[in-house]
Symmetry: none
Subunit: 198 residues, 4 copies
DNA sequence: GCATAAACGAGACGGTACGTCGGGTCTTTTC
DNA sequence: GAAAAGACCCGACGTACCGTCTCGTTTATGC
């Protein structure tokens, strides 16, 4: 007989959830996830610590939840529109949309989450599930169409192609400093395209 | 008038330094940098905490120091030999040497350091200074020669070329799971070469 | 806005309080207050340091609390009985009761507390409030009755009389060595009485 | 063969000694002995810690040395003069001389030393040897003469008489607050004399 | 409709680690 | 060989959060 019963999501108070997510994201943006504490979130959201632990396993999970939710809202609004027959143009648009318009100034939060995920396998899994996988699937789909069109070499694994593109962005985010402006993301796509063409 | 005077490096005890670095690296390899604590290092090295704080600003700095020192020793022994006239072969050798033979099973430590560096600008700077910059300079040099030979397109910035290559490795290290074996690094180089050729 | 809020005494765990006081007093008796540390008390009581700091400002305060509590329990049981019409006999009984039966072998703790109080004004105030004042008030009352009876000279301030008596005991406790047996406390009262008689 | 040889007092540098004692006393007067540290004394005196440990066993010993030295100088100049045939007058003069003119505003240092002595038996012994014993011997001598003269009851132990007097002063110093002015020391002597007269 | 079980705010609690201070020992260099 | 300087091991300081655990209070079904 377990003492700690699983909580009932039906009885969850949505206002409380919102307050926690808002506080967590705000604090992560201000100070970086490393300086965020569950205690701090609880205080700022006017909430008991218990309530946070009831619904999330760690501060990283809270911030990821808040951050991903915000992204998903934005992405749903965009990703239908961008479909022409020019793969390179579509690619540049997709990358710009994602990296600049959607992530934008929450890039630091993304970096924090990746950092935290290095020692938190659950968070890493959740991060890939919420963010990397859906985005990759979407882009992979477009790449496959480009391969059918003959705009991308047929012998390339779409997922490796994605790595070739996005890895550059993450490298600049996590390893070396540098601007993340439109010129840069265009350059990223250009350089990748050199290798992807048939 | 500052209370904490700068310590005198001349009076530093090299045995103590070695013990600290060894303990720090061992613990980082076993549990990951996030679980390492200054207190733990001190205990394992049989050293006072004060002694660590005297010479390093943070646990990340200690582990980076230990880890980079180990790498530098290895690299010095290698990087002279590997110079043929075939850039692609050289590139594959360099990447394999660095990522598999040298970093090898300390890949997790590298990931930890990058993670820590996300909220520690000093550590980030030191990491780039000790690791990224020297390695990049070396590879950039080889790329320039390849451009002169006509094996690499002349209009590519060597540093962007490096990003195209290494970013893939860091992406798999930090973002998505996957093997880091010889087949993979070859594939990384192959994919990059597609874009680099004239 | 203060970060550290005042704790709520209603939520205090009495078992924890008891464990801390017991550990503190035991350690003070064994090694003297100077060798007691908050850390040591916490370890022995199986308690977090924070819990001690939440309720007491210093190790001296903990030990005083434990020691005074023990004394108060004993004193309440005694001080009603001792009331005859012979002031000198009553005085001797009171002094013996307090110094030998009640304080007894915790004399070293008392000395430690007085020592600590020399550089801790809050502790000094608490010590006087918990110990010196109530005991003095009680004896002063008896002296006033003796003055009304003509057993003590009317022109003497009762509190100065108390000093004349008790100062001798503290002098031997703190300044010069010597036994604290019944013969001695009788002698103390005798010598004082010489000066107090009309 | 002992590694730590006993130091040679003949080679001791008197300027260094003076600097240490001066610094120690100054710091003890400013902040109380409890806040004095060997490290602090060393820094203020411009001296290595080793040098202090070479000649004194503890910070208490240093401060006692400095303080007692200062007192001895003063006492030697005074105590010859004060000899009339009126014991009570002599007593008042002696007490006032010692407590007000000699100790005066270093009363806090005295309290600190007594406090420290509670957990440092060596310091306690040294304190009694340097201060209590010589002063007591002197006063005891005068009391014996007064007993011969019939000014003090012959059946009183001179040392107990001394306790009766001085204990009051230490009680006010260590236990209860209150002025230490001339009126008070006179009152102390008056009250004691009531009990000492034949 | 009303009891009753859960979510919730609050925060006490046992812990771990933080970064700092000083104690006392030791070594190196200077005089 | 005394002394200045300070590195070193160690123990304790007082603080910040961790994650668990009561407490009452509020709320919102389910009998």
């Amino acid at each position: 007989m377990s003492t700690t019963r699983a909580p009932d999501p039906a009885r969850r108070n949505p206002q409380v959830t919102a307050a926690i997510l808002e506080a967590a994201l705000a604090m992560a943006r201000e100070d970086g996830l490393a300086r965020v504490s569950i205690e701090g979130i609880a205080a700022r959201a006017g909430v008991g610590k218990r309530t946070i632990y009831r619904w999330w396993p760690s501060k990283g999970a809270v911030v990821l939840d808040a951050w991903a939710q915000r992204l998903e809202e934005r992405l749903h609004r965009r990703l239908e529109a961008t479909q022409t027959d020019d793969f390179e143009a579509d690619l540049k648009l997709m990358v710009k949309d994602a990296w600049i318009d959607t992530i934008g100034d929450t890039r630091g939060v993304l970096a924090s989450i990746v950092a935290e995920a290095q020692h938190d396998p659950d968070l890493a899994a959740e991060f890939r599930k919420r963010l990397i996988s859906p985005a990759s699937a979407l882009v992979a789909e477009r790449i496959r169409r480009a391969q059918a069109d003959g705009q991308v070499a047929a012998d390339i694994d779409p997922y490796r192609a994605i790595e070739l593109i996005y890895a550059q962005l993450y490298y600049r985010l996590l390893i070396v400093p540098g601007p993340h402006d439109e010129a840069y993301v265009n350059d990223v796509a250009d350089l990748a395209m050199r290798g992807l063409r048939p």
